[in-house]
């Protein structure tokens, strides 16, 4: 018989470093055909779509910046951003973070992973970081692809903002990048909700669907005439607030608030997912998700966070009601009209005028004298007046406004025909789009403007 002396190992082996775990998780994620398909779609799809749509006669005018897609390459990526904020970003987070923990349940690999990593905490960190990386890669693809497609198809031209002002290409580029960056915050919030669903519901498909379901609920909420305090406290508000980068003046308040709320949701949902994951008993053969405890451990704390956010917003801002009233609309409409009037003047080769010379003002009314002049609706009617330079006369134009609860409005020109009643204007070089015929605007839901009329 042979006697062999075996060296004694350490009392307790060190857990695998987080960096190693991160690489391990990234390799697993990027090996999935679903993730590869999403990466290809996000990096190629927007470029193709923007290039094709920009060269069509019919533009998606119902989407913010859609009507400018044939005029500048910077509009296309903002249309992509609008669409992505509605469905694509929540779906992306669902498919990545909503499955990153559940996949181990489905494959039965938890015990194997625990034996290899030897730290539940590090597994959570590695999975969260790896899925975050993939989400960022997908968002970067959406942004870059839309920009490249737009610039290639239409060109690097000035962008008309939601205040009607003309942004130089470099200014537009900065604002576009800031808009995508601000959309990252709610994307992270949805990603964290995905992590929570994935941890809490195990292999149940409900975990995978949680970000999409949340997005659906929040989309419906944004369509409802909610008080502004509730609206801006929702984690998806930053998906809308980026429009404030393109108004005149810019609306930093809603953007900052939206980003802060989204980051608070990110932190809360991640912390809940972490706590739930740390408490899991991986040896319990009967475990299949936290089941009914999800309500107590996941949903209730997030509902409490929403309530706290509403309270903080109420204390910190002067906003009340729907956030939409006559004074705000009048101010916004007059500003946009003045900027676009100058654009029309340039198209028609009229002498240039300044906004100050025009002294534009607007008078709005909602639904006649029996209806209070507040809130969303398509029954707003406004008359814009301005001083016609060099003549000393006052011009006026009528607009029908369709105002949505999130503060966006579409102004539809109602005459006179040579100002805003027709979609084209006749220039010395042929027909051109009439910028005053239809345009988008956006009011600041959180600001307070004293009504004069």
């Amino acid at each position: 018989m042979t006697a062999i002396t075996v060296a004694r190992p350490r009392a307790s082996a060190l857990p695998a470093p987080v960096l190693n775990g991160y690489r391990f998780e990234l390799v697993k994620l990027l090996a999935q055909w679903r993730i590869r398909l999403m990466l290809a779609a996000c990096w190629l799809g927007p470029a193709v779509l923007v290039a094709v749509i920009s060269n069509q006669n019919s533009l998606p005018a119902d989407t913010v910046f859609g009507r400018w897609m044939s005029q500048t390459g910077w509009a296309g990526t903002l249309v992509v951003l609008s669409f992505a904020c509605s469905w694509v970003l929540p779906l992306v987070t669902s498919l990545v973070t909503g499955d990153v923990f559940a996949a181990e349940d489905r494959l039965g690999t938890w015990r194997h992973l625990l034996v290899a990593v030897r730290s539940v905490r590090r597994i959570f960190a590695a999975k969260a970081l790896a899925s975050l990386t993939v989400v960022l890669l997908l968002v970067a693809g959406l942004a870059a692809s839309g920009i490249v497609g737009g610039l290639a198809a239409v060109g690097n031209r000035p962008l008309v903002g939601l205040g009607g002002q003309l942004l130089t290409p470099s200014h537009a580029a900065i604002e576009v990048l800031l808009a995508w960056a601000s959309a990252l915050a709610p994307t992270l919030a949805f990603a964290a909700v995905g992590l929570l669903g994935s941890v809490a519901l195990g292999r149940s498909p409900m975990g995978l669907l949680m970000p999409v379901l949340l997005a659906f609920v929040l989309q419906i909420a944004q369509l409802l005439p909610l008080p502004v305090l509730v609206r801006v406290a929702l984690p998806s508000y930053a998906f809308i607030a980026w429009r404030g980068l393109f108004t005149d003046p810019a609306q930093p308040g809603p953007i900052v608030l939206g980003v802060v709320v989204s980051l608070a949701w990110t932190a809360a949902a991640s912390a809940l997912a972490y706590l739930m994951f740390m408490r899991r008993d991986f040896t319990d053969p009967a475990y299949d998700g936290a089941g009914r405890r999800v309500v107590a451990r996941g949903v209730v704390p997030l509902a409490a966070l929403l309530a706290v956010t509403i309270g903080v917003v109420a204390a910190a801002t002067p906003a009340s009601g729907s956030g939409i009233d006559r004074a705000k609309l009048q101010t916004s409409l007059a500003t946009v009209f003045a900027h676009l009037y100058r654009m029309q003047s340039r198209e028609l080769h009229r002498p240039d005028v300044t906004e100050q010379q025009l002294q534009t003002s607007a008078s709005c009314d909602k639904g006649g004298s029996l209806v209070e002049d507040v809130g969303a609706g398509n029954d707003w009617r406004c008359v814009v007046t301005w001083h016609i330079p060099g003549v000393g006369a006052i011009g006026s134009a009528v607009y029908q406004l369709d105002v949505t609860p999130d503060g966006r409005y579409v102004a539809d020109g109602d005459g006179p025909q040579d100002v805003n009643g027709f979609f084209q204007v006749r220039t010395s070089t042929g027909d051109a789009p009439n910028p005053l015929w239809q345009f988008d605007g956006s009011v600041n839901l959180l600001s307070q403007i004293t009504s004069k009329g």
Partner: protein, 324 residues
């Protein structure tokens, strides 16, 4: 006895468990379990479904800590989960592989995770006979191939204690032989192997000692020969040159009970009876004396399996009585 069974190592046991208990809510999974596995030994773990085998394997892999008792692994006392010494590897409830990665990809990712260079991946794949499918995705692998790849993943860490749950599941006879060869080789080099299996023949072929669990308790632990000896009576099948004469002789023998021919698969010329070894000897002597040639005499169930069945059935019966 194979080489691994004969090896002796001059160190502390790879596993030393005393009075281990573990419960999940109201369910007692383990109740006062003792277990000793010296280095270089292949130790079998067997028991009916729900006996607590998976829970015990989970404790040995550090997935949880016992509620009571003491557990030492490779000389270190285990006091918290996932805090095992280096050198423990294995799998429980399947080998834990990622179907979208190739066989080599699975091992490479695992090696990088543990901070290893991955230079042993080729050797590990070769050891389990998967070199020719190393670059195929695991999605297309059979259960047996996955089991072998799981074993290869465990081999990467050069384990001193290997804990395997049903490693021969889905393996064809050639594959099973291959795995047996790998395990005996490991044991010969000092690795302690705890092998949980429902296949008693696997355990008999590989293990020098076996532990039987039932209802969370150890009902037998010791050398496999001792287990076989635990069962004094076995069922035998007898074929002779004169089956009528053989039956008459058997029916008059003492300490031997002829079993009814109620099995459709039994051959007409065979006789079934239950007896201990002395009665068996006496029967053979009487047959020979009566001029009846013995053509076949074999246990219907292998001794080890018979012992296992007898022990677990007795334990279940005791459990029912306790419950009543």
């Amino acid at each position: 006895m194979n080489n691994a069974k004969a090896r002796k190592f001059d160190t502390a046991p790879a596993v030393r468990a005393r009075g281990i208990s573990k419960s999940f809510g109201e369910v007692v999974a383990l109740d006062g379990v003792d277990l000793d596995i010296p280095e270089g030994q292949i130790h079998g773990l067997v028991g009916p479904n729900g006996a607590g085998k998976t829970t015990l394997l989970g404790l040995l892999l550090g997935l949880a800590v016992p509620d009571g008792g003491s557990l030492e692994i490779l000389g270190s006392r285990v006091s918290r989960s996932l805090a095992l010494p280096d050198g423990v590897a294995g799998f429980v409830d399947g080998p834990g592989l990622y179907p979208s990665l190739t066989a080599r990809g699975n091992l490479a990712a695992l090696a990088r995770l543990r901070g290893m260079t991955g230079e042993d991946i080729g050797a590990a794949l070769d050891q389990v006979g998967l070199t020719n499918v190393a670059d195929d995705r695991v999605r297309g692998f059979s259960l047996g191939m996955r089991q072998r790849l799981g074993l290869a993943a465990s081999l990467l860490t050069k384990p001193k204690l290997l804990v395997l749950d049903e490693p021969a599941n889905g393996l064809d006879p050639a594959g099973a032989r291959h795995v047996h060869g790998v395990l005996t080789g490991l044991a010969a080099n000092g690795t302690a192997v705890l092998l949980s299996s429902h296949r008693i023949d696997d355990l008999a072929a590989l293990c020098s000692e076996v532990t039987i669990l039932a209802n969370g308790r150890v009902i037998f632990s010791g050398p496999i020969e001792k287990l076989a000896a635990e069962t004094d009576e076995l069922d035998y099948r007898l074929r002779t040159s004169d089956s009528d004469a053989a039956r008459r002789i058997a029916e008059t023998a003492t300490d031997l009970r002829v079993l009814p021919d109620d099995d459709l698969l039994q051959r007409a010329d065979s006789l079934h009876f239950r007896a201990a070894v002395p009665a068996l000897d006496e029967l053979v002597a009487r047959l020979v004396g009566a001029g009846v040639a013995v053509r076949e005499l074999a246990p219907v169930v292998a001794p080890l399996e018979a012992a296992f069945l007898a022990l677990t059935e007795a334990q279940n019966a005791a459990g029912y009585e306790d419950a009543e």
